[in-house]
């Protein structure tokens, strides 16, 4: 496959746009201990896709609305019930998947396209998905730059931020919405199952290696880009699944870095 190949060009653009989005959202997810919530929302999105498949509707808007509903329901439950957040997230995770599978069962049709979404199809990403990803980046980057101090205060010490009058609830909901939109829109690139890795690995490494939250977001984007290009090359060279190859590269780097910095 040459560099002039339109599939490869689309894939490279997708990796770049993904790097920008996960640079922001992944770093903030790790800093705010929201990685498992991101995973839960990624799987909730599958429920939305199943619902769209059952009803014969366009998948993307249904998945976005469905995931946003789950995100807001989680925020509401976290404030109103005495239940650990990770338990609520686990229930959300399982429920989203179950709804998706039940909807597919009820449709009595073959869900080949849904499996592609589950595991990603970077080399077959359509142009309109690239446009939507670009729009997401255009929203995420200025918002993160504008609210970076408030987001740092929130991540550093949520209790202090709340009692000091920072609109903690609005910021948390904003973060959940950003994570929801990102996981749904990035599912074409790496797939829902592997989404959690991009939300956690580059952000975790960059927070460790940076001296400020802003620089961590930048580094996280660069790391995602490097992992993406390396995974894409492996995928092309050895005929592997692109999403899985990207995550394998990221996972190996994470393990080496973590073992080198152990206590």
């Amino acid at each position: 496959m040459s560099l002039a190949n339109p599939f490869l060009i689309s894939a490279l653009i997708a990796v770049l746009l993904t790097a920008i989005a996960t640079g922001v959202v992944g770093t903030l997810s790790v800093a705010n201990r929201m990685v498992s919530i991101g995973g839960g929302l990624a799987h909730a999105a599958y429920g939305g896709l199943g619902l769209a498949f059952l009803l014969g509707w366009t998948p993307l808007p249904v998945a976005i609305l469905f995931t946003l509903f789950f995100a807001l329901a989680l925020a509401w439950l976290q404030e109103r019930v005495h239940e650990p957040s990770d338990t609520l997230t686990g229930v959300l995770w399982a429920l989203g998947m179950a709804i998706g599978i039940l909807c597919i069962d009820l449709s009595r049709r073959y869900a080949g396209d849904l499996n592609a979404i589950l595991f990603g199809s970077l080399l077959a990403i359509p142009r309109e998905d690239l446009v939507v990803l670009g729009i997401l980046d255009c929203l995420l980057v200025p918002a993160a730059a504008l609210f970076r101090r408030s987001l740092l205060a929130l991540a550093l010490d949520r209790e202090f931020a709340e009692v000091s009058g920072l609109p903690v609830r609005a910021l948390r909901i904003g973060l959940l919405v950003a994570v929801s939109l990102s996981v749904v829109l990035l599912m074409r690139v790496v797939g829902l199952v592997l989404m959690v890795a991009l939300l956690s690995i580059p952000g975790s490494l960059s927070l460790r290696w940076s001296r400020s939250l802003g620089r961590a977001m930048l580094l996280s984007g660069v790391l995602t880009l490097v992992f993406g290009l390396a995974g894409l090359w492996l995928s092309w060279r050895f005929d592997l699944s692109s999403g899985a190859a990207i995550i394998a590269v990221a996972g190996v780097v994470y393990l080496i870095a973590t073992l080198r910095s152990r206590k």
Partner: protein, 261 residues
């Protein structure tokens, strides 16, 4: 005259359990109040009520003449260091400048005047030379002073501190209390501590929290019966020197007592 805070027959707790059953107290503006009591007596519950993060089951809580939530911008809070995510990439100065949250719009970053004010407080707390150091590179005592500076940059009318001397050495502790005494001339400071000895050396009055109630003693001297009421068991109280107080160990009571030898 407006009180720094007022608790009026307050019952409060978590879920169905009431930690405070009938707590009443009014603290006038100005001075340094020490709050003591055994673990689980309700010291943190009182702080949460004053911060507005916990609503009472019954009774009323008033802070600076209004509700705790409305008073938030006029209140400073120093939590225990455990509440801070030390693994995040932030310098000491960045942490101190997060004290301006709630005072500036959420989209505005602190500018040069705010940074100068933050550095001035760091100077007074003797941590200015650590301004560029990462959180993970700070000792517990240095981080604690950074959290005090973070609260003080807000120039609050009411300052609430939760165990601020837990990681401090003797010199840092003396420096902190000198600063708090100075700060509390025309403002109010409430300091929660297990260390009765530390409190009695520096505070103007003491509140004992225990058995679901608060008993406020005007003056740093604590009658033995007040400690017995708070801790729910007999105590030996020995005063010597500055004054120092010693609560001797005894059987038949599993509370984690303060005191010093």
């Amino acid at each position: 005259m407006t009180a720094a805070f007022r608790l009026d027959h307050v019952a409060a707790g978590y879920g169905p359990i009431a930690v405070l059953e009938d707590a009443s107290m009014e603290l006038p503006v100005g001075g340094l109040l020490g709050m003591i009591g055994p673990n689980g007596a309700g010291k943190s519950t009182v702080l949460r009520l004053l911060l507005g993060t916990l609503a009472p089951f019954r009774g009323t809580v008033e802070v600076l003449g209004t509700t705790p939530r409305l008073a938030r911008k006029r209140v400073g809070y120093v939590p225990q260091t455990l509440s801070v995510a030390r693994d995040l990439p932030a310098t000491l100065l960045e942490v101190v400048t997060t004290g301006f949250v709630g005072l500036l719009p959420p989209w505005r970053s602190p500018g040069a005047p705010e940074r100068e004010r933050a550095l001035a407080w760091c100077e007074r707390l003797r941590i200015a030379h650590l301004a560029g150091r990462r959180l993970s590179e700070l000792s517990g005592g240095q981080l604690q002073r950074a959290l005090v500076a973070r609260a003080l940059v807000r120039e609050p009318e009411l300052l609430l501190l939760d165990e601020p001397t837990a990681n401090a050495d003797a010199r840092a502790e003396a420096n902190l209390f000198d600063l708090l005494s100075d700060f509390s001339r025309d403002r109010t400071t409430v300091l929660v501590s297990h260390d009765v000895g530390v409190l009695s050396r520096h505070v103007r009055s003491i509140a004992c929290v225990g058995a679901g109630r608060i008993v406020h003693h005007d003056g740093p001297e604590i009658p033995a019966h007040a400690l017995e009421d708070a801790y729910g068991c007999p105590v030996d109280l020995i005063a010597h020197g500055h004054p120092h107080r010693v609560l001797s160990e005894h059987e038949g009571c599993d509370h984690d007592h303060g005191g010093e030898a």
